[in-house]
Amino acid sequence: MNRYLLPLFIFIALVILLAVGLSLDPRKVPSPFIGKPAPAFNLPQLHDDSKIIKPADFKGHVWLLNVWASWCVSCRQEHPLLMELANSKQVPVYGLNYKDDQADAILWLKQWGNPYQASAFDSAGGTGIDWGVYGVPETFVIDKDGIIRHKHIGALKRSDLDETIMPLVKKLQSAAQG
């Protein structure tokens, strides 16, 4: 084997890398919170300013946090799926209403249905930043100990629920609290 083959071999490695790259999405940013405690927040509820909602309330249960807003088009797309999920009562879903107008948000839920046990009202978006939210919608799976176990970016599809999220939820639900 002569050394003149070296450029060819390096090139082949490059092609393999690029081929793998075709199957990846350079824009998806994974969450650094996987396996870490859910960031705390202390927000008023969307429907009732006097009530406070915070993650510590949900210790002992597995729950989903869905980040949504009335101005978000993709949220409409995943909404029916969320309604279905909420009605099946398999796992409680809480909402984080992100950078929205309170009246608009309440109206949106009234119009399309409310899948959330409660929605936290994050008008300034500070909690969103704390959770590393960079686009809407996003969905988090949090376990009984308040650790974030999964983040889904973008509108939920049935396959996401069936193949990834619900199996994870079931697994976490059967695990004992730490």
């Binding site: 002569n2 003149y4 083959l5 450029p7 060819l8 090139f11 082949i12 490059l14 092609v15 890398l17 690029l18 081929a19 793998v20 790259g21 075709l22 199957s23 990846l24 350079p26 824009r27 998806k28 940013v29 994974p30």
Partner: protein, 654 residues
């Protein structure tokens, strides 16, 4: 009708390209003169059909034929005529047609200007270029046809991205593509030489002017892109090390190395295998750039709408073309004999050093560009690699090059002495340091070390280049006569190297002494920046052909003398929800004043405004223009136009 005609023309072009890619090459191999002679007519027919297709597409845009999907996605009834034409290459499909057109123009040019090249060689060169054409035409016809119809026909088009509705973006792609594609000529010559078994100084001589012209176009194309980004994107930056910018810069670096290596191969008959490899690399990087921009593998503001199927096609094409050439290289290179002998201190070594630096710089940029992909592919996370990385790697790497550029041009071939060089150069060094420090102290009270280093380096480059030029003409009698006797190639080299000095001044001063400020201004309020006074006169509404705008009005004065009226705009295009900024710039040789309009801030008609003072920023592009001019001069050297048949048949050493 016209779109169908265009589509048909593409298919005919493809068939011509297939002929061009096969018969002449086989003819050269099997010595069939009739097939060798097919190269030129096939190339010209291909050019004709592609011109027809291009014409059809342009016509379709001009008459607003939204039944063609590509037109519907990139045009609009309100779009001014100039941009309807430039929209032809504004999107993915049309830009491929521009690529194919560029390639067929270069091929035509090769058939015209190769009278001193043996027919069999021309046949192979044209054949190889034909193979590349086949790839692009096939890609277009199979996955990205610009003539595809849309049904139902929309009443209105989606519009050309407003960012592209700009003069800079009209000429930037054609220039860039002429550059990218132009490297295919040197590539084709290298492949043809390896196929034919003749790799001598003549081959290098034939390749040089083509490489210089392609390099010139690429230099201009990149400079235009940088200039455009500066005035259009509104944050004063002129280079972001974005993957697509890097995709154009890497072939440029490799092309620069190639130009210098070709010079050595022609003069000294050395480094033949290495020069061949560089020619392959330069064009491969052009193709890689095509892949990166259209496959979606990397995120970029410049990327065309992406589609994995297209990505797969280009990757296969890339693998075949580059893999094939590297395989051919691996087979042929061991047989290539380079006759040369030179000492460690010699121009030969200096040029090798030039090559090492340029190639390492190119590899570094490739590494940085692809690294996020590597990390992602290995599943170990997601990182970003941006300007902080590239700047901290690239600048130290290229400084030795700037130091050596004038020196190398003065060194003797084969053997030189350090003492001789030191004797000549230390006055230049001293002068550069002294003048540099003095100039900086005169220019500003805030003298920064890096600024002094940059200016001294620029002076050194200029000084050594001028000294080299002086050496060339001195002692040759009458100055004017001596100037006349200097070959254009030498002028070209000197001008290009001077361009480097100019460029260094530009980036040094602009990077270190730019000032910017975001301010809230009410009408009548002033702000001082960089020694200039900006007086805000309020905002009015304006109407354009396909947009409405808020137009700010600022008076700029210095020492109470009126310098400029600046009218930055915030435009809302009819077809885009988001507003676009049009900065107002007062351009100058020694500084730019740049104003961008922000947001209305409520009470008292206040607006937020961004002000910039950018010293010597134009020198960056001026330097590039010098470099491009240098390349042009070098290519026009009369040696390339001489019919030197008698030399070629001597010692056809492979």
């Amino acid at each position: 009708m016209i779109p169908e005609l265009g589509n048909f023309a593409l298919i005919l072009a493809l068939s011509m390209a297939l002929v061009q890619a096969s018969l002449p090459v086989i003819g050269a191999w099997k010595n069939i003169p009739e097939w060798i002679a097919l190269a030129r007519p096939a190339a010209w027919m291909q050019l004709l059909f592609i011109l027809i297709a291009f014409g059809c597409l342009t016509y379709t845009f001009i008459v607003h034929d939204f039944s063609v999907a590509y037109v519907a996605h990139n045009s609009n009834t309100q779009l001014p005529l100039l941009y309807r034409v430039s929209a032809v290459w504004g999107g993915h499909e049309g830009s491929l047609l521009l690529w194919a057109l560029s390639l067929s123009i270069w091929t035509g040019a090769v058939t015209l200007f190769s009278r001193s090249v043996p027919q069999a060689m021309v046949a192979r060169v044209v054949g190889v270029m034909g193979m590349v054409s086949v790839g692009f035409l096939l890609f277009m016809i199979l996955t990205s046809n610009p003539f595809e119809r849309l049904f139902p026909v929309p009443m209105e088009g989606r519009d050309l991205n407003p960012l592209l509705q700009d003069f800079g973006l009209v000429i930037h792609p054609p220039m860039l593509y002429m550059g990218y594609v132009g490297f295919s000529v040197a590539f084709a010559f290298a492949i043809a030489a390896m196929l034919g078994g003749r790799l001598d100084a003549a081959w290098a001589k034939w390749s040089r002017p083509w490489t210089n012209i392609a390099w010139m176009f690429l230099t201009l194309g990149i400079a235009l892109g940088s200039w455009w980004a500066y005035y259009e994107l509104g944050w004063g930056g002129w280079w972001f090390w974005d993957p697509v910018e890097n995709a154009s810069f890497m072939p440029w670096l490799m092309g620069t190395a190639l130009m210098h290596s070709l010079a050595t191969t022609e003069k000294r008959g050395s480094f033949k295998a290495w020069t061949v490899l560089l020619a392959i690399f330069a064009f491969s990087l052009s193709l890689l750039g095509t892949f990166l921009v259209r496959s979606g593998v990397l995120t970029s503001v410049h990327a065309f709408a992406t589609d994995p199927t297209r990505g797969v096609f280009i990757l296969i094409f890339l693998a075949v073309v580059v893999g094939g050439s590297l395989l051919l290289y691996a087979i042929r290179a061991p047989q290539i004999r380079s006759a040369s002998q030179f000492d460690l201190v010699s121009r030969d070594t200096a040029l090798l050093f030039n090559n090492v630096i340029l190639v390492v710089a190119c590899i570094s940029i490739l590494l940085g560009t692809l690294y996020p992909l590597v990390v992602d592919a290995l599943g170990i996370g997601k990182i970003s690699v941006g300007p902080p990385y590239f700047n901290s790697v690239f600048i130290p790497l290229t400084m030795p090059l700037a130091i050596l550029v004038g020196v190398g041009a003065m060194m003797r071939w084969k053997h030189d002495e350090i003492t001789r060089l030191t004797r000549k150069l230390w006055p230049v060094l001293l002068a550069s340091i002294v003048i540099g420090i003095v100039l900086m102290m005169l220019y500003t009270s805030e003298v920064k070390v890096m600024a002094v280093v940059g200016i001294v380096l620029a002076l050194w480059v200029t000084g050594t280049t001028l000294l080299g030029f002086w050496d060339r003409i001195k002692g040759k009698g009458n100055v004017l006569r001596a100037l006349g006797k200097v070959p254009l190639g030498f002028y070209g080299m000197s001008v290009a190297h001077l361009g480097i000095g100019v460029f260094i001044v530009g980036i040094t001063l602009t990077s270190l002494y730019s000032t910017e400020k975001d301010v809230r201004l009410v009408p009548g309020e002033k702000y001082e920046l960089g020694g200039y006074e900006f007086t805000f006169k309020g905002v009015t509404r304006k109407k354009g052909p396909n947009y409405i705008a808020h137009e700010g009005n600022l008076h700029v004065t210095k020492d109470n003398k009126l310098i400029a009226f600046l009218q930055p705009q915030k435009r809302i295009y009819r077809t885009q929800p988001k507003p676009m900024t049009e900065a107002a710039i007062d351009a100058g040789l020694t500084r730019d004043l740049f104003v961008a309009l922000g947001e209305p801030l409520g009470a008292e008609n206040a607006w937020s405004v961004r002000l910039y003072h950018k010293p010597f920023i134009r020198w960056i592009w001026l330097g590039a223009v010098f470099m491009a001019l240098g390349g042009l001069l070098a290519a026009c050297d009369k040696r390339y136009r001489q019919q030197n048949k008698r030399n070629e048949n001597k010692r056809a050493v492979v």
